[in-house]
């Protein structure tokens, strides 16, 4: 029993020491798909820049609308503790935007972000937002300022949490709907 206790103490001490060291990121396609086997358990750990998706649309006269955020904000119900598909889907979409931001950061100098899966999926999310899609009954864009859109454009901005200022990370070309 004492030996077990010793191992446990040693394990958590090593874990604490490892957390203080600068951690090296390991990349790989299988590692990405099977990252659940290597959880880092660091949730909400710091106020870093947070990627946010914005969309705008162009009407038949060629006029662009204002930019609108696509960010999950849904009404709460206690029953969602048991069944919450719309919110979990919305969170997975926001996660997608965060993956795109990571892919932009990691992109090789001669790389094309449009070839990335995350870019293509975020483009679908932006298109759906302009076409009036929703997370369940909640629209992806609240009070959109466009009518009869024919083309759309999306932007990924890095929001500096706590300071509420942002900077542009990516601006897509104008895309047909």
């Amino acid at each position: 029993m004492e030996l077990t206790a010793l191992f446990i103490v040693a394990y958590f001490v090593l874990l604490a020491v490892a957390l203080r060291k600068r951690q090296r990121k390991v990349h790989g396609p299988w590692l990405f798909l099977l990252r659940a086997f290597f959880p880092n358990w660091q949730f909400f750990h710091g106020l870093g820049p947070a990627p946010r998706l914005w969309v705008r649309a162009q009407n038949t006269h060629g006029t662009w609308s204002l930019w609108h955020p696509v960010y999950p904000r849904l009404p709460r119900q206690t029953s969602q503790l048991l069944h919450n598909p719309a919110v979990n889907l919305a969170l997975s979409h926001q996660n997608l935007v965060e993956h795109l931001a990571t892919d932009i950061h990691d992109l090789a100098d001669d790389g094309d972000i449009a070839q990335c899966v995350s870019y293509q999926l975020v483009a679908r999310l932006a298109r759906d937002a302009v076409q009036g899609g929703g997370w369940g009954a909640t629209p992806l864009v609240k009070d959109p300022s466009w009518t009869d859109p024919t083309r759309f454009q999306f932007e990924v901005r890095l929001l500096h949490l706590g300071r509420e200022s942002d900077e542009q990370l990516l601006l897509s070309p104008a895309l047909p709907l």
């Binding site: 659940a36 709460r76 598909p85």
Partner: protein
């Protein structure tokens, strides 16, 4: 009063809670195809590096086989809750979890998928080791595996917060709550009070960081787990993470058992 958890009861509680968590997840997965207009396997498939795995997944993720796969997962989760899971069911549940990870680019719901995999790995470990040794010894190892992973999750989460000035000041708590899926916080929310935010931050940070102490005594473990249940409910309440609540709850019988031996 003794709160020690005997092995048979710990196994049953673990199986029921893990099965329940899987069942709720499966129910949500079944609803998603009707809600999601973004995910597209035709686009995602290029991320699978192996050219011979891709066509297999192409077939499995067609609408009908995918729905059948989820139906099977639901039935297996029910069997687990009823105490009918052997090695075959443990293997199938583990394999289905891997397929779902592939379908959702490595994770659908982040940490809850990771903790679900921990539970399923524990279940598989118990049944595989059970082929070579006494079932009780196999389950002992499996529950320790689940416990160490669960305690690590709290420990790491607590200590990374402790190292961040924005958490020590409480500012991070207000900002994250403000950006939660059910947010923003009302202008007059008590979580905007800097002193209260700091107090809450320190309470949760220390509780998380000290969670391994739960192993010292079953009563202490019960207190840590009870606080954890409240914590996960609050995480659901503010961030909508219902799956986290059930995934972590399913590890508590393992923690209580390990604190009892």
């Amino acid at each position: 009063m003794s709160l020690a958890l005997e092995l048979p009861l710990a196994i049953r509680a673990f199986e029921i809670l893990l099965g329940w968590s899987l069942l709720l997840q499966t129910w949500e997965y079944l609803r998603l195809p009707a809600l999601d207009r973004v995910g597209s396997w035709a686009i995602q498939r290029v991320e699978v590096p192996s050219p011979w795995v891709r066509p297999i997944l192409d077939r499995l993720f067609l609408p009908k086989p995918y729905a059948a796969m989820l139906g099977l997962r639901g039935a297996l989760a029910l069997a687990l809750m009823l105490g009918q899971a052997g090695l075959g069911i443990a293997l199938l549940l583990f394999a289905l979890a891997l397929l779902l990870l592939m379908r959702w680019r490595g994770a659908f719901n982040g940490g809850s998928d990771f903790m679900t995999l921990v539970g399923l790995t524990g279940l598989l470990l118990a049944h595989v080791l059970g082929l070579f040794t006494e079932p009780a010894s196999a389950w002992h190892v499996a529950l320790w595996y689940v416990t160490v992973q669960s305690l690590s999750s709290y420990f790491v989460s607590g200590w990374v917060k402790l190292m961040r000035p924005e958490w020590r000041s409480g500012r991070a708590l207000t900002v994250f709550l403000d950006h939660g899926v059910y947010g923003p916080l009302p202008e007059n929310s008590i979580y905007r009070w800097p002193r209260l935010a700091m107090l809450c931050s320190w309470c949760f940070t220390l509780w998380e960081g000290l969670f391994p102490l739960a192993l010292l005594d079953a009563r202490l473990a019960a207190v840590f787990c009870a606080i954890a249940a409240v914590f996960h409910f609050l995480v659901f309440w503010f961030f909508g993470l219902n799956r986290f609540f059930w995934a972590w709850l399913s590890t508590f019988p393992a923690i209580l058992y390990c604190a009892s031996v």
